[in-house]
Symmetry: C3
Subunit: 340 residues, 3 copies
Amino acid sequence: MELRLAAIVESLGGELLGDPEHRVDGIASLERAGPRQIGFVAQDRYAGLLRQTRAGCLVVRESLREAAAARGPAIVCDDPYLYYARLSQWWARAQRVPVEPGVHPTAWVEDGAVVDRSAHVGPWVQVCRHAVVAAGAVIEASCHIGAGARVGEGTRMAPRAVLMHGCSLGARGIVHSGAVIGADGFGFAPHQGRWEKIEQLGGVCIGDDVEIGANTCIDRGALEDTVLEDGVKLDNLVQIGHNVHVGAHTAMAGCAGVAGSARIGRHCTLGGGAIVLGHLELADHVHITAATVVTRSIREPGRYSGLFPFDDNASWEKNAATLRQLHSLRERIRALEKKP
Amino acid sequence: MELRLAAIVESLGGELLGDPEHRVDGIASLERAGPRQIGFVAQDRYAGLLRQTRAGCLVVRESLREAAAARGPAIVCDDPYLYYARLSQWWARAQRVPVEPGVHPTAWVEDGAVVDRSAHVGPWVQVCRHAVVAAGAVIEASCHIGAGARVGEGTRMAPRAVLMHGCSLGARGIVHSGAVIGADGFGFAPHQGRWEKIEQLGGVCIGDDVEIGANTCIDRGALEDTVLEDGVKLDNLVQIGHNVHVGAHTAMAGCAGVAGSARIGRHCTLGGGAIVLGHLELADHVHITAATVVTRSIREPGRYSGLFPFDDNASWEKNAATLRQLHSLRERIRALEKKP
Amino acid sequence: MELRLAAIVESLGGELLGDPEHRVDGIASLERAGPRQIGFVAQDRYAGLLRQTRAGCLVVRESLREAAAARGPAIVCDDPYLYYARLSQWWARAQRVPVEPGVHPTAWVEDGAVVDRSAHVGPWVQVCRHAVVAAGAVIEASCHIGAGARVGEGTRMAPRAVLMHGCSLGARGIVHSGAVIGADGFGFAPHQGRWEKIEQLGGVCIGDDVEIGANTCIDRGALEDTVLEDGVKLDNLVQIGHNVHVGAHTAMAGCAGVAGSARIGRHCTLGGGAIVLGHLELADHVHITAATVVTRSIREPGRYSGLFPFDDNASWEKNAATLRQLHSLRERIRALEKKP
């Protein structure tokens, strides 16, 4: 695909400096971009790369207007990173092979299931009884849609995604391969040294514009539903326990985990591998650093951290060994302080 | 479904206080229950909720008998949480659509495989040569049962679960979607800067009443089998390395990992994200806190922990930076102590 | 299968001590081996087991030659562990049922896809348009090979592995069940409290002799490809973010995670659950201990660690509580040092 810079600005806005007829055929990082590609200077600290890049056009903020114009075509806008996101969407739409509506002959749609005529259901997809696949939804190969489950308008399920019975996905969502929505929550009553299963009678209710990463798991609730509000974004291999409530526009990076019945606010972020223990509450706008374990509720917005600083192995060993005596060190400091 | 309280007590025991003809149509949390729902007060510390809940019937211990009776129908029993588990099972059985025995026309059962007539094999399931699916087993869509593998009586494999060749699942088990049982263990011999594969010649042997979470992986043994004894419960996204032995009735929460050749005792628990390193042994009744890394064997029952306390980011940064000098702090304390 | 010791040595080298006609029918650990099995003493510290084992033949280093010969047949070689790897491969090849070339009648090969005549494509595999499956590749049940994707010669994809559009796998690779190669990287631009999707326009490019564990995820690049060089080995449930570059012969244990745009050197190892944060660089020959979080680039080869030492719960609680005051402890030590 080849695009005139003028066409880009007409569609996405911004102010074009330089030749409107200049053409680009791709987006690239500043390091790799050539004269036929467009690059983005999302942060002023990358301004140094501006002189070195061979990009055919640069998208910059107002503050870099002159520096960018001095080297060739440029687009000035408020938020180059957002501009990049929108241009990537345009590019993806243009490259994407259109999906044909209809049900693949090898799919298995059970009685009482409703598949909208504009939806696409791929090979070896099982749409169980009373399930609903709404207009424009795309269900790729070998997905499973359980009894009474619902896939919202325009939502895409990548190959091998699973939506168990009675669970619902909102509109415009994306579920990546291998994600499992609605497996049983992990609930057992101890009894005479054994575990008695607590059947998980709730479901999973997912809002609009939610993206769920590959092999991520979202368990169904014990009694009521596990809930993800609108705009939530989960990366790969994330674990969401039963009864969890995730507020709108919260994002979690890969391998994060939220234990049962926790309640995460809106506009929160969890770094990769972060864990929130069960039954806790996080306020809105709480940001958890990667690999941090949240062990009590957080009522105030802000950034919270708790990870062991890594070091060369020998230094770590010495410090870690001392850490196991930390409490007694404190006692020794106290004793010293009491000395006359 | 609607149930008379008298019917519940007849079936599950306990002492009924109040109108035996009162009817409920669901189980709910104390906060959400209405007059047609039954609620549980599992712990005395929730007794405060007892006055506020609108639940049509409460299940309580002896200690709350009077308080519960004062507000309406109640069931008194030894262990309300266990009662809840059993009632949830009853509810689930009543709601579940019965699974028809038989092999779906799209399934592929190879020569020499044996599928019991009472078992259900769903669409696009491959049952490889010499595999066995025992009576009452339910194999849902797109599961894979490798050559010579065995699924025990009444065991259920949810859509897309994988049981590789030569592995066996006991009776009354549940394997959730995307779980992979019997992929190769991670074994390589280093040789001239490369990794030479060690073929994994063992299998996986899983006992009765075992539940395995979504997208959990249990690797086959290098020479002998990886073993999970009866009653083991694994949550989602758990990793069990090759040659691991997990004792009966041990439970592991989401994202826990056990490295190769570790031996975990009976009645142990691993919290979410906990890791046990390879070749270690854990005694029976060992409980590992979430996100703790076990780096040496544990011979005594008890609770063990090792996680960095989280804090607001600024406080954490100061403490973490100091932690890297902890050993030298100890030296400085020593020097101070030696001062006259 | 039964093997003469002479045949083993002819094929794999080493010096045979004792009866060349002695036969073995399996490999076993020293503890479990019987007279018909061959055992390996990979490290001198296991020499003590040499006297107790009932193995019919022992493979040892030169240093244990005499001790081994004194008890029966033995093979002396430079590297018993490597010898074990090679013998395991021989055993596996001999036991493996040969896979028939050809496309299963239930597979779905789209127009323009090319499947080599010597390749095997199993049931319910979708090979999308313009995808290539090279000679000798084995694609097991329900795998997905996206449009324009490429599977190299002799590479095996276990049941339910996913290779998304435009991604490529080199030769002689193994992809275990449930692995997802080429799902979207996790990229969003924040905009007015919402996340605007950045379409992921790159792919995944994987070299030769790479093994990828069960349910492991490797995301496609944002603009350029995510790259795994030759000989990389990933265990189960590993997460590789978009744009990551993993150098040749690097290995990662289960549940490790590498965040976006990180660059890992060659011959590195990551222990189980280790995390490398985004945009960092690790030099060649860097070894990260299990559960360590790498928060800055590492320029020097060596071993690096950072994990909280676990303890009995009471001791941990005391030390962890004190840790949150560590910075102030340092101040108190300073104050004490300044005292006259």
